[in-house]
Amino acid sequence: MIRRHLRRSAFFVLVAGLFAWLVFPLYYAFVTSLRSGSAIFRVSWLPDGADFSNYVRVFTEQPFGRNLLNSFLVATAVVAISLLLGVTAAFALGRVKFRGRGTLLVSILAVSMFPQVAVLSGLFEVIRTLRLYDNLIGLVLAYTLFTLPFTVWVLTTFMRDLPQEIEEAAILDGATPWQLVTRVFLPLLGPALVTTGLLAFIVAWNEFLFALTFTLSDRQRTVPVAIALISGGSQHELPWGNIMAACVVVTVPLIVLVLIFQRRLVAGLTAGAVKG
């Protein structure tokens, strides 16, 4: 009896410890963001007062609102393009038998795995040739490198698992392949589209290396770059209050999104990985 009790309490101590490990950094960023002036330099484990001046400064000392809008626009465009190209490609790869299909799937998977830095100089040249340097459209183009392969991959596995019967009737009625995709498959793919779209959004929202390299001016930056480049009077005087406020601002919408679509996201993550 006592042993069972002990084991139960040990388990809950473990759970509490793991929980704290997961959420403490975000909690502490929030606590810090509400303190300013010299208060920041006294360590405080608990929130004391609510001073929102850091939040005001984040938006007034740099075009942070603009940066948020940039991130939002880029991520949305990336999602739209990836889903549009992904659905049609997934129909071809998941529902039609043709020579070279397996090779194609493996190559697409390989693209999602190679290091971004390996395409950095080549992509820089492409973007400059297309006159898209320091332009959000250039970033949208660059981000399809990450989002398109896994969108195609996940949607293909979803498409492949749908039963044969659903399209047979439509084919007998003389439906064209385009009609098959838009009328028969698209409605069935709803949940998969939400999942892959969200994953693509998060990837684009969080990306740093390309955003840092392919944009130059303050007003074209996305949020991760803006946060990384927030600096104070000197190198050793980083405005930590502002930085933490900015961190909270970018993270909260993501967390809300993730918690709402929790189940779908987990399903998509494990499908994307376990199945390839």
Binding site: A92, V96, S121, L209, L254, V274
Partner: protein
């Protein structure tokens, strides 16, 4: 009924449509992946510079290894390159190992039914969803040598007697970055392992319970072999991701030698020093190293990536 001839015609039409549907995706991928990759390979044999990409000359293997006035130059003779490669390997191996162990622990805990499990599962998604740059900044602040809460906590617990410069001390900074990566990506491993755990047959566990076999034995002899395929996949995904790490090192320690990864090294050559040839050579080598290690791993582990298994 559809006649065989018409069926054949229909099939041909379908294949034609399939290629038409694939074309836009293939064109985009060729533009952002294949072509830039080939150009990077090509640049690595030239002395191209960022300000003037066109005014380049072929210099053969000059960026890799070549004698100039009797001294070997190029990446293979550059100690900073070897340091960056070493850092990258240490980072990748250590972080993937720790993430796997911790990820399995998280998954085992979440596989138990207890009050607050859904809260815990939601918390698991928090580090995963936070942008890497944001996690880097949050942890830099927590690990701050003068005002950081980590030093404060450790001093209160009397585990250290004076503040530690986690990010400035060259023997510690790489480990600080590994810590942040482990925090950020353990959830991914945990979710994959949890998905595998939930598909395990319950009956062999019941049998083990009846026979009174201790839990740790059951774990090592039953659970671990059964989740091995899922672990193999999680490990390769994490490893490939860790080998190209850029954000954490760049944001937390800038271009310090102690933490410089190959990606940081390559970008520094490309952008800061404008040396596209040298940077491209470093990128090409990283690509080859990752490709080689991946092939070795796939040979050894044979993870099931085909999607045949659910």
């Amino acid at each position: 009924m559809v006649s065989p001839a018409r069926h054949n015609e229909g099939q041909r039409q379908r294949v034609r449509a399939a290629w038409l549907f694939l074309a836009p995706m293939l064109i985009v991928l060729a533009l952002v992946a294949l072509w830039p990759l080939l150009r990077t390979f090509y640049f690595s044999f030239t002395n191209a510079s960022l300000v003037d990409l066109h005014g380049r000359e072929g210099i053969g293997l000059g960026n890799y290894l070549a004698p100039v006035d009797g001294v070997w130059t190029g990446l293979f003779a550059d100690p900073q390159w070897w340091r960056a490669l070493w850092n990258t390997l240490v980072f990748a191996l250590a972080s993937v190992f720790l993430e796997t162990v911790l990820g399995v622990l998280f998954a085992l805990v979440l596989n138990v039914t207890f009050r607050g499990r859904s809260l815990m599962r939601a918390a698991l998604l928090v580090p995963w969803a936070i942008p890497t740059v944001v996690s880097a900044k949050m942890w830099s602040w927590m690990l701050n040598d003068q005002f950081g809460i980590v030093n404060d906590g450790l001093m209160r617990l009397r585990m250290i007697s004076e503040p530690v410069a986690w990010l400035a001390d060259p023997t510690l900074s790489l480990w600080a970055i590994i810590l942040v990566d482990v925090w950020k990506t353990t959830p991914f491993v945990a979710l994959l392992v949890l998905a595998a755990l939930q598909m395990l047959p319950k009956d062999c566990y019941d049998a083990a319970k009846v026979d009174g076999i201790p839990a740790w034995k059951v774990f090592f002899h039953v659970t671990l072999p059964l989740i091995r395929p899922a672990l193999a996949v999680a490990v390769i995904f994490r490893f490939l991701d860790a080998m190209r790490m850029f954000d954490l090192a760049y944001v937390m320690t800038g271009s310090s030698d102690a933490t410089m990864t190959v990606s940081v090294f390559a970008r520094r050559q490309l952008v800061d020093f404008q040396d596209v040839g040298y940077g491209s050579a470093a990128s090409t080598l990283l690509f080859l190293v990752i490709g080689l290690l991946t092939l070795l791993y796939l040979r050894a582990m044979r993870p099931d990536l085909s999607g045949a298994r659910r």
